[in-house]
């Protein structure tokens, strides 16, 4: 049984007790463990569950509050993508993909070399560079908003993709460097030295030995970078227009049929669409994501 090493069981074996009390202790500890675990799972899933239930609920029954799905309909999803009310959710989804992919590619491309240097080389000013990158990762995005807003207005960049991609690099790049450095520190670098002894150039050793070994770390970092860019709101809300706005901004500004009336079910449907790809990533790669999160200690 999987509980063989649980603290309670160890207590029981540590202090020999009558067989029956020991059994009871194990069962009690088990019950408590699984009750706690259930609580943790409910914490994570209940509000999300409520979003999905509402997304599939007829708009006339928005406040039904029945805990299970009732009045199931797909209308909210149709309304979410409809442009009749001035919403551009489909376009916003596409924008988020474009911004997320471009930011991730740039962040990863630059970050891989920086992390390699930080992990493998001992160079002058290393402390300064590490500090600079760390400071960048703690940097408040709001300090970028007013200078960039003024700059992009002056050069006519408001409403372009580069106005959204370039500022995102400011938080994605420190994140990729941080995470990749932690991954690189764990890699079996002896293999690189072996390749070098066999006559490979540093570039060859990097490409043929290190990159394949680093692929899982790169992949995890890409997921973290993409999620952080996908979730960005502050910069996007100021530096985008109707044409380039990403989903986070679109969802925040969703217009309903009546002014001043929140289209709850439509927004929940849109939120479900935005979240489901992330949930799939999380389900498929939870182990890697957790190791990436804790290795880099990156922000949520």
């Amino acid at each position: 049984m999987a509980t063989a090493t649980s603290p309670a069981t160890r207590t029981a074996t540590g202090a020999p007790a009558p067989q029956i009390r020991r059994q009871k202790g194990v069962i009690g500890a088990n019950v408590r463990t699984y009750a706690g675990v259930t609580l943790v799972v409910l914490w994570g899933l209940l509000p999300f569950y409520w979003m999905v239930v509402t997304a599939f609920r007829d708009v006339g029954y928005t406040f039904d509050n029945t805990p299970w799905p009732t009045h199931v309909t797909l209308d909210n999803f149709k309304t979410a993508f409809s442009t009749n009310l001035g919403n551009h959710f489909g376009q916003a989804l596409l924008n988020s993909v474009i911004i997320g992919v471009c930011t991730t590619v740039v962040g990863l491309a630059a970050g891989v070399f920086a992390a390699y240097a930080l992990s493998r080389l001992n160079f002058r000013l290393k402390f300064l560079v590490t500090g600079f990158i760390l400071a960048a990762s703690m940097f408040p995005l709001v300090a970028l908003v007013s200078p960039l807003f003024q700059l992009f207005t002056n050069i006519g960049w408001i409403g372009t993709y580069q106005a959204l991609i370039i500022p995102d690099i400011s938080f994605v790049l420190p994140l990729t460097i941080y995470t990749l450095t932690a991954f690189f520190n764990e890699m079996p670098w002896e293999l690189e030295e072996a390749a070098r002894i066999d006559g490979a150039t540093p570039a060859q050793a990097f490409r043929k030995v290190i990159l394949p070994l680093a692929a899982p770390g790169l992949f995890t970092t890409a997921i973290l970078a993409f999620i952080s860019a996908w979730n960005e709101f502050l910069l996007a809300s100021e530096l985008s227009n109707d044409r380039t706005q990403p989903v986070t901004v679109a969802i925040a500004n969703f217009a309903g049929a009546q002014p001043h009336q929140e289209p709850y079910t439509t927004v929940m449907a849109a939120g479900t669409i935005v979240t489901v790809p992330l949930i799939i990533l999380v389900l498929a790669f939870q182990r890697q994501i957790v190791s990436g999160l804790t290795a880099g200690g990156v922000k949520g």
Partner: protein, 332 residues
């Protein structure tokens, strides 16, 4: 845990070791410097463009006048050097020569500062307690750990904008929260319910992150330490207080630092959940609102925010032992 390995690698350590032949060592160092320059060049250049340039520009802007009517002379000014006017505007509550009238953005600085710090202290405290509890639960052995980890990552993965909308719905007047609690609270309608709503939503979203970082810290504590403590007759509480807490402290401090800096710049949640109304205007929201009134005074406020965050980060690293550099791999 992966994060304990050194940034200083074997090759680098060889280069730094004092015992090696000096000439070879110097050559290796020069080689490392050259390669580091090549490898780090693009990153440093990019960060200078996306961070350093806007920051310097922001600081310069903060010493410029906003175009507008000079309240003292009544004449139109189109900018020019402002000295510290933009800073005294916020810190000294000065609008022109008079103090800022209530209701203006300028008069909201100290309330925004208070709200931001209040959110930070309360949210982080709740997240530490709950995160520690969750981590202790997840650190036990049970079936379906993967499933639990995946489900706790759900709040972390949901975009904050969606989280805000989701809790806006849950906490709406006719929503499920009031229905379950049999209350009729207008959650976003007055000061303390609105503030609680933001803290609830923030705690829901970020406790998992806290829990996972603490869990990573718990997992490196060897089981035999507890074994020894039990043999010595330590109670569960003593074990937690005297073993778990001190040993998990480095991981905990890093988590607390990251979360503190995160809440200090909180924007998305209050902006979408309460629109910054009812005493939930944070410093970040105030900066963005101010942009509509004038870039330069907004730049002064964002510079103040930025300095505040760096001060907090510095205090954490200096006095509370949040060794971020070590956690990123300088432990060797």
């Amino acid at each position: 845990m992966t994060s304990q390995a050194g940034i200083i690698s074997t090759e680098a350590a060889e280069a730094a070791r004092p015992g090696g032949p000096p000439r070879k060592r110097r050559r290796l160092e020069a080689d490392h410097n050259r390669r580091a320059l090549l490898l780090l060049g693009p990153t440093v250049l990019l960060l200078m463009i996306v961070i350093l340039y806007p920051v310097v520009r922001g600081v310069i802007m903060s010493f410029q006048n906003d175009p507008g009517l000079d309240p003292a002379t009544g004449l139109f000014v189109s900018g020019g050097f402002a000295g510290l006017d933009n800073y005294t505007h916020w810190l000294g509550q000065q609008c022109g020569r008079a103090s800022c009238p209530p209701g203006t953005l300028g008069s909201q600085f100290y309330s925004a500062l208070f709200v931001t710090i209040f959110f930070t202290v309360v949210s982080v405290a709740i997240e530490v307690v709950l995160g520690m509890w969750f981590a202790l639960i997840m650190n036990r052995t049970f079936r379906g750990r993967g499933l639990v980890r995946a489900s706790i990552l759900v709040p972390w993965a949901i975009p904050t904008a969606v989280t805000a909308k989701l809790w806006f719905f849950i906490l709406s007047f006719a929503g499920i929260a009031n229905s379950i609690l049999h209350t009729q609270i207008l959650w976003t309608g007055s000061t303390w319910p609105a503030r609680s709503a933001i803290i609830i939503a923030d705690a829901w979203k970020t406790t998992p992150f806290m829990a996972l970082l603490i869990l990573a810290g718990l997992q490196v504590i060897p089981a035999d330490v507890y074994e020894a403590a039990r043999v010595d007759g330590a109670t569960k509480w003593q074990q937690f207080r005297l073993i778990t807490l001190p040993l998990v402290k480095p991981a905990l401090m890093v988590a607390v630092l990251f979360r503190t800096l995160d809440v200090l710049r909180i924007y998305d949640l209050p902006k979408i959940l309460t629109g910054g109304g009812n005493g939930t205007t944070t410093l970040s929201i105030l900066v963005v609102d101010q942009i509509r009134q004038g870039f330069n005074s907004a730049a002064a406020l964002s510079t103040i925010t930025f300095l505040l965050i760096f001060l907090v980060a510095f205090l954490f690293v200096r006095f509370l032992g949040a060794n971020v550099a070590a956690s990123s791999g300088k432990a060797k």
